[in-house]
């Protein structure tokens, strides 16, 4: 018998559509701002794979924990972070969630949104999120912990250590493999041999599922089943969603290594275009105008925000700032 698939209300679908469009609009705008020299540093795009972030994040409950990776900015929007949070991070301003200490998707708020900040070292979130589920269980709570991992990051040992730990401890951890075809310039078939990456779960006794990552309702349904199973005590869950990275690894990368025919075939499967047939022209226009307003506000707010003070760099390493030695002896 196939597992029961949860129904999605019209209202929730409209919210998902909004979240998809907002994610893409912020992404597009950031690309333009980068070209204008308004934002610097690494800029990573989720273009074409937004459905995974949005569908998966919608499958969580408020009390759950989630750790997005670099291409999952949609997740933080669903969890209650704002477009201003995302834009001020890119602008590196004092008003950003990290106050300018870290860039892009490296922020979170455990208390308020349940979002955990990623670091650049891939797969580290798998053990960390297992630990959040473990910590919650020790406190007598059942909270699902979710994170995302790419086809490239699956080669990192932390994935195996973390999944095995979660399996042994029977933790409510949901790991979503985002197979977007390339890890920087390395195609998946040069990275690893299995056709379905989810098969790696067999090493931990986990039978995962594969889905269409460019279909937001399928992502939602499969993730919801996994989240429900994890919450019901069935241990860690592994899902693989197939998608494609439409832009390069980061903004500097023209991705000339991607065969044009492959790129074109994936562009035809655009997750927003496929989903928006469910809505009337009026509904779509309404969402788009709301999103435009949100993006304009976020860019204006970020652009007008103050830079952090240089000496702010000294604060926040430890709870007690006085620990970090800095003042030269002749100024003491």
């Amino acid at each position: 018998m196939p597992p029961r698939t949860p129904k999605i209300s019209k209202e929730q679908k409209l919210q998902m559509y909004h979240d998809l469009v907002l994610t893409r609009a912020l992404d597009d705008r950031a690309q333009a701002l980068y070209r204008q020299g308004k934002i610097t540093g690494g800029l990573f795009s989720s273009l074409g794979q937004e459905a995974i972030s949005i569908g998966a994040a919608h499958a969580l409950e408020k009390e759950d924990y989630v750790a997005p990776m670099i291409r999952n900015s949609g997740v933080v929007l669903v969890r209650g972070h704002t477009a201003r949070d995302i834009m001020t991070q890119y602008f590196a301003r004092a008003t950003s969630p990290t106050g300018g200490k870290d860039n892009s998707q490296h922020f979170g708020d455990v208390e308020r949104t349940g979002v955990v900040s990623c670091i650049s070292m891939l797969a580290t979130l798998v053990p960390v999120m297992a630990g959040m589920a473990l910590g919650a269980r020790l406190k007598g709570e059942t909270r699902v912990a979710m994170t995302f991992i790419g086809d490239g990051a699956l080669s990192v040992g932390d994935f195996y250590e973390g999944m095995n730990f979660a399996a042994i401890q029977n933790l409510p951890l949901v790991v979503i493999i985002e197979n977007n075809g390339y890890a920087y310039s390395t195609p998946t078939e040069t990275q690893t041999l299995p056709k379905n990456l989810v098969d790696k779960g067999l090493a931990f006794g986990i039978k995962g599922k594969v889905g269409d990552g460019n279909d937001v309702t399928e992502v939602y349904r499969l993730t919801r089943q996994a989240v429900d199973a994890a919450r019901a005590g069935k241990g860690p869950q592994l899902l693989e969603f197939k998608t494609f990275r439409i832009r390069g690894h980061a903004v500097h990368d023209p991705a000339e290594y991607v065969p044009p025919s492959v790129l074109e075939s994936w562009k035809k499967k655009d997750p927003i275009e496929r989903f928006e047939t469910e809505f009337t022209e009026a509904e779509r226009a309404d969402v788009r105008s709301k999103v435009d307003e949100t993006v304009e506000d976020a860019v204006r707010f970020a652009d007008e925000s103050p830079w952090p003070e240089g000496a702010e760099a000294l604060r926040g390493v430890f709870e007690d700032d006085s620990i970090v030695p800095y003042t030269p002896w002749w100024e003491k």
Partner: protein, 321 residues
Amino acid sequence: MAEITYLDAITKALGDEMERDPSVFLMGEDIGSYGGAFRVTKGLQERFGAERVIDTPIAEEAFVGAAIGASYVGMRPVVEFQFIDFIACAFDMIVNFAGTSRYRWGQGVPITMRGPWGGAVRGGPFHSRNPEMWFAHSPGIKVVAPSTPTDALGLMRACIRDNDPCLFLEHKYLYRRIKEVVPQEDYIIPIGKAKVVEEGDDLTIVTYGMMVHRCLEVVKDLDASIEVIDLRSIYPLDREAIVQSVQKTSKLLVVHEDTRTGGIAGEISATINEEAFEYLSAPVIRVTAPDTPVPYSAPMEDFFLVQPDEIAKAAKKLLAY
């Protein structure tokens, strides 16, 4: 009041803290019913259950990562490395995840990482290391290294109650060799505070860990007034205590078991150069292990480790200035 060993003091600290605070729990390899390779956690799983004394797979990166995650939801995990050498397997999780978390996004990481450290037990290259400076040099990690049961108990309590990641180094040579009566009250030894273990006016010796005992042995036989400072914490470093002592004695010898290049002696020497240069009447001297892996065979390990006669020779050289 009975004497307890250095090892007993650590076991006591872990048990006391678990009793006092339900958010404290332990993870590590073979720490449950087996009690750990050195039996530091012996009896704790019986007392607190398998939920709070967790045997993990052989996966240091995983159990440190899980400790970080658990700390994010309000727990205070203590993880054991079977030998501290294996902390290298969790290096990424410690320096990149734990060490930067508070700084980057305000999320503190109240975890304690502990394990048997140091040489003199013929452990060879992978069961004898001194990894303190890997972490002292990595912003966001506190590093402590007690030399007595009293300090081990008080520093372990301090680490567990601290809201930042702490590395607690337990000298395995001292585990069962050092005994004393420890205070009965619920005291802590503050992290970042050195201790003057022997007062003197002619020379300051700064050291920590097993070398504290070697230095005290040497000082006993020297006809001079020598001040011995036990750092107890490597990071934060108690620069003030060292500077104050050197201002009094005008001579400094730093002794450590760790290898030379990048050892804490270099940082201490630089601090004295900056902050007490005018007080010096002799160059700062350091006595350390050479820059090699820890050799296995007894004659070579003894050669590698700082011996009392080397300390005495350096002290006499300074006293002669």
